[in-house]
Subunit: 346 residues, 2 copies
């Protein structure tokens, strides 16, 4: 009986000690592994966990109230694969091929001719004006619902050339875990992409758990008009309203969200201003850049990568210098991620 | 004892009957009164309750899944008082007066001279260009945070000329109840205003329970730049990006929300296209127009009102005709609302 009581006392003491430790010490790494299982223990994962702890612990000096918890994510190269070419550009090229029978004049008109003949050399030299013509011909002149249906159909069938899988499977598992982890901590997660807002909104909920209204992207103007039954419809027009890249990212964030993010995630020069803008707010901040340094499991480009001068997801030395100067965390895909995709074994 | 048992049996039977009635019959009007206490029983309140029942009852053919439950509200004249003049224009005029000491040239420059001398005849004739000059001079050339601070300060101090109360107290109590009722039914409530997005976002949470990111409004472009410490800031510029009025309302809804609303509420020609756009979706829909027909408790303008030709919240006969043709519900402030403001006795 005495032994029983003593055991009880001991367990009580141990319980109290454990409770005290839990409130004063950092969470044991076990917990972090549970929520971010595809991240190796290292500075990147540590930065994430520390940021969440700093901004959600009510007693702390850097506590952020829930309505201010905004986290913004670039998409291409940050949440999913962008090489050899942005998914939306693949879509546009496929649409040129699909629409060609109804547009016989394209056989003799650039830039369509090069797309239809599969002239990769010519396509590699496409100017912004060429791309605008292709986007205009494939993304406009229809209702917003008709465009959504076309994208949904395409994305269900298209396959990425190297991995031979749907693009929607080529999302980075560690980033999906990060999105969930932040949401569980009360953060509202947004995509802020140079890609088309209407394009990304068709699959954002299903792929990332991010509803359409939390996608900020480049956007053409729509025009309100009436269909043959007198019903109000919106037609997509070629007029560019938001160029959500570079300085356009913080500008788009202000327009659509109206709040400064506490955390921002990108992977290229297009994300620089978004990360700067997040950092310039007061209190604890988290800025991270995904560095593609894993040619075996994904691709290598950017500093010390295989394609330092790529235009798709450019990460020049100057961006690495800014990251170091401003104290941004660079995520090494090779070293920080146990696996890249959900289908990877590890 | 026998009586007791019989009473118990009876109460049991009555209880079962009541439960059966509750599941098969429409909710008793008592319940609706509880949630919309400032609404008189009548067609307007009935339309609201029926719409919510039709779209949230899981078994019904017009059930709307939660992520599609979007309701959009005009602000001026729909959620709060807009006469004798839009609140934001009052703000702009007050700002001209406040800034005048630093802008001595305004004494001899129109439209500022008329504002500074209080020349109401001249002000009544202001052109769009005049108003753009005033908005440009008072709403741009500063960071978005500086503008927010100016608005917050002004709105805390300003008083509406007739009611001698802060503008934020001149919100319609029945509409606040409607907002709450819809939110309780899983609807995401948005403001879609011709007024300035940055202006309304400063008080939308506090006044309407609507967070800044759920305010769609007219918006000037911002320009990303750096302050003297190298921190990223956004400066408000005079370039108009969104004119969120008339056709601009459905266009703005698509840009910011990306979903077609199931319910839309307005009070003037500026809201026509928004209501049409909501109605053109499939399933149960709710379109309502607030008619200002109560000069005693608020104002009267629009059809059969005192100021049929007002430019502030214009409600011409043609809009009433469209409402009847398309089956929109017109809310009579006089007949449908028990009280207008929270401070009204009733």
């Amino acid at each position: 009986m005495l032994i029983m009581i003593q055991r009880k006392k001991w367990s009580l003491v141990i319980g109290l000690l454990a409770a005290a430790l839990a409130t004063t010490l950092p969470l044991p790494s076990k917990t972090a592994s549970d929520v971010l299982p595809s991240w190796n223990d290292g500075p990147a994962k540590q930065a994430i966990v520390q940021f969440v702890r700093a901004t959600t612990g009510k007693a702390g000096p850097t506590y952020v109230p829930p309505e201010q918890r905004i986290a913004t994510f670039d998409q291409d190269g940050t949440l999913w694969v962008e090489h050899p070419m942005y998914t939306q550009l693949m879509f546009a090229l496929d649409r040129v091929v699909a629409l060609a029978p109804k547009r016989p004049e394209w056989k003799n008109t650039e830039p369509f001719r090069s797309v239809l003949t599969g002239d990769k050399t010519a396509m590699a030299k496409f100017t912004t004006e060429d791309l605008e013509k292709i986007v205009g011909a494939t993304h406009t002149g229809m209702t917003v619902e008709a465009f959504q249906a076309i994208v949904k159909d395409w994305i269900a069938k298209a396959r990425q050339p190297r991995f031979k899988r749907p693009y929607t499977e080529l999302v980075y598992q560690p980033m999906l875990e990060l999105l969930s982890y932040l949401r569980a901590a009360g953060y509202k997660t947004y995509i802020v992409t140079g890609g088309g807002q209407d394009f990304v909104r068709t699959y954002s909920q299903q792929v990332y758990g991010i509803p359409p209204e939390q996608v900020v992207g480049s956007a053409g103007a729509t025009e309100y008009t009436y269909d043959q039954n007198g019903n109000g419809v919106l037609i997509k027009t070629p007029k560019l309203l938001l160029n959500d890249n570079l300085s356009g990212k913080p500008e788009g964030i202000h327009l659509i969200i109206g709040k400064r993010p506490c955390a921002a995630f990108g992977n290229s020069t297009g994300d620089r201003q978004m990360l700067e803008y997040a950092q310039a707010g007061s209190g604890a901040r988290l800025m991270m850049l995904v560095h593609h340094d894993d040619p075996k499991r994904e691709y290598a480009y950017g500093p010390a990568g295989g394609l330092a001068d790529t235009k798709v997801g450019a990460f020049p030395d100057s961006l690495m210098t800014e990251a170091k100067t401003r104290g941004w965390t660079v995520i090494s895909m090779k070293n920080d991620w146990k696996r890249i995709f959900a289908f990877d074994r590890h």
